[in-house]
Amino acid sequence: MTTRARASAPEQRTGNPIRDSALARVPETVDEIVTLNSAVWKRSLVSPALLEILRLRNARTVNCVFCKSVRYEVARADGLSEARAAMVDAGYEHSALTEREKLAVALADGYLGFPAGITAQLAQRLAHEFSAEQIASMFVALMAFNFTSRTAVSIGGMPEEPLPVVLMALADDD
């Protein structure tokens, strides 16, 4: 991973982490990316804790140092303690995560595979636990999380060593 940033963030700060990143260099897309992030957290059809599980599994796979260190307050308030967040790791199948939470991890792994894909067993389990709308909602969230984390990794400038965990509130215009 390159530790030298390939694009710079704007000097003027807004307080929104997306607008204060190199993504601000592209005015044609930055407003919609801010809207998308807000919509995923505020209007998805699954709980914030499930969203955070999807996000953390993606962050682990993409190896986005920043994404791995962040915890969204809204998910913490929804019951995803640090101890439970730590279960979104190797061996999650045998952890104390609920069936729906384990399925969210498995769905993320299917999406993040190369090539992506869903096994017959996982398809049956997903159909038993989630509605069509919820499955679609989780895919939109996964796309948003994966797209932003891979963008961060590709632009570079991240430290190689893990960062301490930081709680993040949704930004004012989120």
Binding site: S8, R25, T29, Y111, G117, A123, R150, T151, S154
Partner: protein
């Protein structure tokens, strides 16, 4: 002939509309990719084909892109991209080769994109163009992945409303 199965990255939004406003936002972002000043639609389509080739996704490779003007990407250039031969083809510009090389590296491992590959894009497109390209590749790749998963779900465990 278009042998693509739905959904694919190009018609995915029809399948995701049931997810509500987040899906609508992602659909608007997708539309915005095709009307910006940084990367022309035919080159963006070649990026989509590059990622589809890496995913070995026949449905994507055979899908017709509605965002392109008729004839905007001729069959020889399309075939060269699908064969992974664009880098050696004489009728690809330096800019096209730089962008497609970046797309290839991004698709294989976004963490391992060489600095010189990124710099070559930056020389051609500028800093904003590089950031846009990275965003676009992320959107395209995500849509290819989601479409593939939804096709699996429709085949293996059909759920009313998911297609």
């Amino acid at each position: 002939m278009n042998n693509s199965a739905s959904p694919n990255s190009l018609d995915l939004d029809r399948s995701l509309v049931i997810a509500g406003s987040p899906a609508a936002s992602f659909a608007r972002l997708w539309q915005a990719l095709w009307v910006q000043p940084h990367v022309a639609p035919p080159l963006l389509e070649m990026c989509r084909l590059t990622l589809a080739r890496l995913h070995r996704d026949e449905s994507e490779l055979s899908a017709a892109n509605p965002h392109l003007e008729p004839g905007a990407l001729n069959s020889a250039r399309r075939a060269a991209v699908i064969a992974g031969q664009a880098h050696a083809a004489a009728d690809f510009s330096s800019m096209e080769k730089a962008v497609l090389q970046f797309a290839e590296c991004y698709g294989l491992d976004a963490q391992s994109i060489p600095d010189e590959t990124a710099e070559a894009v930056k020389v051609q497109l500028g800093e904003a163009g590089l950031v846009f390209l990275i965003e676009a590749l992320g959107c395209i790749d995500g849509r290819i992945r989601t479409a593939r998963c939804l096709r699996d779900l429709a085949r293996l465990a059909p759920v009313p409303g998911v297609s």
